[in-house]
């Protein structure tokens, strides 16, 4: 079976700086893969390359065998590869529910003109989006705060909302950039289980960037380690924990954090 996502020797140079340097790896359908590495290693840039938020300097990304790099973000989202943001990025002046409803854009059957004139298709879409939004909010434990203004939410809920927005697009591959940042232990564990269920119950393939090592070790099928823009290791959590190069470059000082 061909991998759902193939990252093939992608690089991104900013002037003299090579943020991502010839990185390659494959992602199988239904996998949860974590990308780890020190700050500034190029993880976020790698996600932006995959989602076409920035263009590549060289290399390419294939989704189901077709090139998705160097297109526009909305085109890649339409194909089924959607990213969330490292910073908590939400529509601040909308309610939680409105945030998720608007994110159903790609599932519209009606045209914009159809929505203007309130055609049958448009009314059906409105119904579907509302029901699906409620479903997603319930799934992520946000049901109780659906009518809150997004700007009033605490950090933990904002992260979950970011994920809900991504999920509403109906993605096949979801790229989560630091989904557990700013969360306490309980919140993190809840999100870890949410990500798992995302894969198990909805068949979404997940790539995530995270610094929370216990969470990463717990959640990942495989881990890709990046340092100074280059991939230095790839393997199962057990393999990564015992990889000399990784320990030296990154994990060494954080023995406690990985629980080794």
């Amino acid at each position: 079976m061909t991998p759902i996502l193939q990252i093939k020797g992608v690089s991104k140079r900013y002037g003299g700086l090579t943020a991502v340097n010839n990185v390659s790896f494959d992602v199988a359908k239904g996998e949860i893969i974590s990308v780890i590495g020190p700050n500034g290693a190029g993880k976020s840039t790698l996600f932006k390359l995959i989602s076409s938020f920035v263009g590549t300097s060289s290399g390419e990304v294939l989704f189901k065998g077709e090139r998705i790099s160097d297109l526009a973000p909305h085109v890649v989202a339409r194909r089924g590869v959607v990213r969330t943001f490292q910073e908590t990025t939400i529509f601040r002046s909308m309610t939680v529910r409105e945030n998720v409803i608007v994110a159903h854009h790609l599932r519209s059957k009606a045209t914009l003109a159809g929505f203007f004139f309130g055609t049958a298709a448009a009314r059906a879409d409105v119904q579907t989006f509302g029901a699906s939004a409620d479903d997603i909010l319930g799934f992520l434990g946000l049901g109780d705060i659906r009518d809150e203004l997004a700007s009033n939410l605490p950090q933990g809920h904002l992260r979950a909302l970011g994920m809900a927005i991504g999920l509403a697009t109906g993605p096949e591959v979801l790229l989560l950039d630091e989904p557990f940042a700013g969360m306490n232990h309980d919140e993190t564990m809840r999100m870890v289980s949410n990500v798992r269920r995302l894969r198990d119950e909805r068949g979404v393939t997940v790539l995530l960037v995270e610094h929370d090592m216990p969470a990463v070790m717990k959640i990942s099928d495989r881990i890709v380690v990046i340092n100074f823009g280059q991939k230095i290791a790839e393997g199962t959590p057990a393999e990564i924990q015992n990889n000399e190069q990784v320990i030296e470059a990154y994990l060494g000082s954080e023995d406690d954090a990985i629980g080794m």
């Binding site: 909305h74 989202a77 854009h105």
Partner: protein, 326 residues
Amino acid sequence: MKNTTKIAGVGIFLLIVFVMVPWAIAASGRWDFYYTLTSVALLSIASAGVWLTFYIGRINIGQGAYTLAGGYVSAVLVTQAGVNFWLTLPLAGLFCAALSVLIGLPILRLRGVYFAMITLVLTEVARLTALALPITQGAKGITSIPLPRELSLFGMTLIPDFARLENPKLAFYLMAVILMIASYAALYRIVNSRLGHLCRSLQQNEELASSIGVNISYLRVLAYAISSFYGGIAGASFVAISQSIYPSSFQVADSVNFMLNCFLGGLGFVFGPMLGTLVLYFGWDLLFTTGRYQLLIYSSLLIALMMLLPNGLLSLNQLRGKGMRK
């Protein structure tokens, strides 16, 4: 706002513009008032367009360019091609929409003051173009434009010939008010349909909008084109009333006013620009009596108002209860 209050509000509004105003004018004999109110109605259409660009997060100080272009399109078609004014009205709107696509594609990438500054230049560019082109007849402008002819469909008169009317002032007033109502009804539908929801997503975060699959450049251009369409039909209507157009018919100051109307009425309210236009227009006229202090008082009042009511005049209503949102 509950549906019944909404319907009541619309009913009262219709009663005022179609019954009470004509009655009051007939009773007082102030026929000149029709011209004032007609102007307010048409200016508020142009302002509604500006409001829609605000709605996608762009400060548009260039609507005067499109009112001018729309005016010239209508004037040229009526005087040089003999086209019926009523046909030139949508054509002027469409011309401006098409023009705004060409202009908007590059400039809508800019945000904040950068976009605002570029649009500020547009009105001046439009004026200079009108001065330079042979078809617009330079500084002489286009004058003696005939009044709107009869519009008929299958031999049935839909709109009578304005030149034969006893009271063309009333006819123009009705035309302007009906156009205004249609424009605001359409705007209301836009804002309260998915299109409006997507516009708000652009306004709040373009990156996030594109991550959920929204083609942001398309949507920006679409909103700007609708905005400019409004400018075009407002301009064309003005020309029909004044029966003339010059390069200076719409200036930078008009563009600034269209924007101020939106600010004043409230950017969160579809009907904000309508109220803003009314208040600003009459405010300016009232201040005329204060002579050379007119501009000073006017500016100070505006600044004070915007500081006290940053969400516009209609937010007064919201403070009382949760009314009129969107």
